[in-house]
């Protein structure tokens, strides 16, 4: 188990926009927004509207949220092992996989946005972890998957890498073999995160940062 580091060891916090690879989008209308706004300038969307749209209690935040029991014990164990392996290389990101059957008209990105923010946070440690979380929302009713990052991990991730990763698991997702799909996604996530780390290193090297940054 890798011990967590505190802020002083990681160096001065830098504004996310200096590192961000992707733009920002409204979870409601999916239009690009130029800056971190309180509500979407195009449709007026905000966290409050998401709560109005999904007016029920969000589930507890766990590594796997599977209310319909799609995953067996063996699969859960494999997912847990893959998670631990990944955490040894990348101690900060936390991956969460949620399997639900959504209505056709419900956009998984919007549902994931709501879930990520509405699921209860118990303490400061959980707060920190939520910011470093990446939620894979799997809509088993319509074979759709969305990826939603927390604010802390968001600047480092390239959305295209997630799309490519998911595309390669098309067979497992279509056949409902979610255990295999999730384990492969976790294994593939190491490559996505390595790519992100290299990008950060490149940027920091270019600007003369030291290796601890």
């Amino acid at each position: 188990m890798v011990a967590d580091r505190n802020q002083s060891e990681l160096g001065e916090a830098v504004p996310a926009q200096w590192l961000a690879v992707n733009g920002m989008f409204c979870p409601g209308c999916h239009r690009a927004v130029a800056e971190a706004v309180e509500q979407c300038p195009a449709c007026g969307y905000s966290g409050g509207k998401a709560v109005d749209k999904f007016p029920f209690t969000a589930p507890e935040w766990q590594g796997v949220i599977d209310p319909d029991g799609y995953l067996g014990d063996g699969e859960r164990r494999e997912i847990e092992e893959a998670t631990v392996r990944l955490r040894e290389s990348f101690p900060q990101p936390r991956f969460c996989f949620c399997l639900v059957g959504l209505e056709r008209e419900t956009d998984p990105r919007e549902f994931a946005f709501w879930l990520m923010n509405a699921s209860p946070v118990r303490d400061a440690e959980e707060e920190r972890r939520r910011l470093w979380s990446v939620l894979f929302l799997i809509d088993h009713a319509h074979h759709r998957v969305s990826v939603t990052p927390g604010y802390a991990i968001e600047p480092f991730l390239n959305e295209e890498s997630w799309r490519s990763l998911l595309q390669w698991e098309v067979r497992s997702f279509l056949e409902g073999d979610y255990g295999t799909a999730i384990v492969r996604c976790l294994n593939g996530a190491a490559a996505v995160l390595s790519e992100a780390a290299l990008r950060v290193q490149e940027k920091s090297g270019r600007n003369g940062r030291d290796s601890s940054w």
Binding site: P15, F25, S133, R144, S146, F156, L174, A190, R209
Partner: protein
């Protein structure tokens, strides 16, 4: 009389090139604009100006990077020199950047930036910093060139310049801090040696031996625990902490834009694509496919 005419002609020759230029390169530098924008004719629209001021003051307060936007009604004789001179004067010993624009003229906006002091860095640090600064300016210019309107170019250019210089300014502070620490450590070590004189040698030998032994044990332990683990070389990877882009009044995430929908025919497309790649890579005879 001849002497007077000669002086008048010489005087006229000296003055004429400057005629019509409201801002000669060698003239006095205007007062440093408090909000970072020098726009005597009021060419910038109020909304654009307000957004730029926010960015400029943010870079100034948080990172001590001095960014200035200069909009002149006519082209100065040597615009780069003018920008450099004004920037150095207004920069007040900090890293400064100037966006100079002349509406309607080609080759604008132009960007200049430099450090208004001589840093106590080694040659490698200086070279690295100069390279980073040149790259940052090139990046700002590259991004700016593709924008359609002059006002968009100025607004975006100012924001990008503030971002890039804010970042470099932070890097500078870190370099200064590291250098200061390195100097302080060396001084401390020297003074300690002077105080202890000849007694330091046996103690150093004992401490050195113990240290060497600890390093060896730690090395063996780490090698053992690292066997068969992560694919990433050099142990766990830590990402830097960031100041998040909180939005939509959401506490933990602003949402993501990745959505993949799987369809039966898509599987076939992907597999066919993979086969095409495989054939191209391996140069396999087409008859077999």
């Amino acid at each position: 009389m001849v002497k007077t005419i000669f002086l008048v002609v010489i005087g006229a020759l000296l003055v004429l090139p400057m005629a019509g230029q409201a801002f000669p390169v060698s003239g006095p530098v205007p007062t440093r604009p408090l909000d970072g924008i020098f726009d005597p004719e009021g060419w910038l629209e109020e909304s654009i100006r307000a957004a730029m001021v926010r960015k400029i003051l943010n870079a100034r307060e948080k990172q001590s990077a001095q960014v200035f936007v200069v909009v002149l009604p006519e082209r100065p004789s040597d615009e780069r020199r003018l920008a450099a001179r004004w920037g150095a004067e207004w920069g007040q010993g900090n890293l400064w950047g100037v966006l100079l624009h002349v509406p309607g003229e080609t080759g604008f906006p132009l960007f200049e930036a430099d450090l208004a002091r001589s840093p106590v860095w080694n040659d490698q640090q200086k070279a690295e910093f100069e390279r980073s600064l040149a790259e940052a300016l090139a990046k700002v210019r590259r991004r700016d060139r593709v924008l359609p309107g002059e006002r968009e170019q100025v607004a975006r250019g100012a924001a990008d310049l503030a971002d890039e210089l804010g970042y470099l300014s932070m890097v500078m502070r870190r370099m200064d801090r590291h250098n200061a620490q390195a100097r302080g450590d060396r001084a401390q070590r020297r003074s300690g040696q002077e105080e202890q004189g000849g007694r330091i040698l046996p103690a150093a030998i004992v401490i050195g031996s113990l240290g060497g032994l600890s390093v060896l044990i730690l090395f063996l332990l780490f090698r053992k625990s690292g066997e068969g683990k992560a694919e990433v070389e050099g142990g766990p990877i830590w990402f830097p902490e960031t100041i998040p882009r909180k939005r939509f009044r959401a506490p933990w995430s602003g949402g993501g834009n990745v959505l993949v929908e799987f369809r039966r025919n898509e599987e076939g497309d992907i597999l066919r694509g993979a086969l095409r790649k495989f054939r191209a890579t391996k140069r396999v005879d087409n008859r077999f496919w």
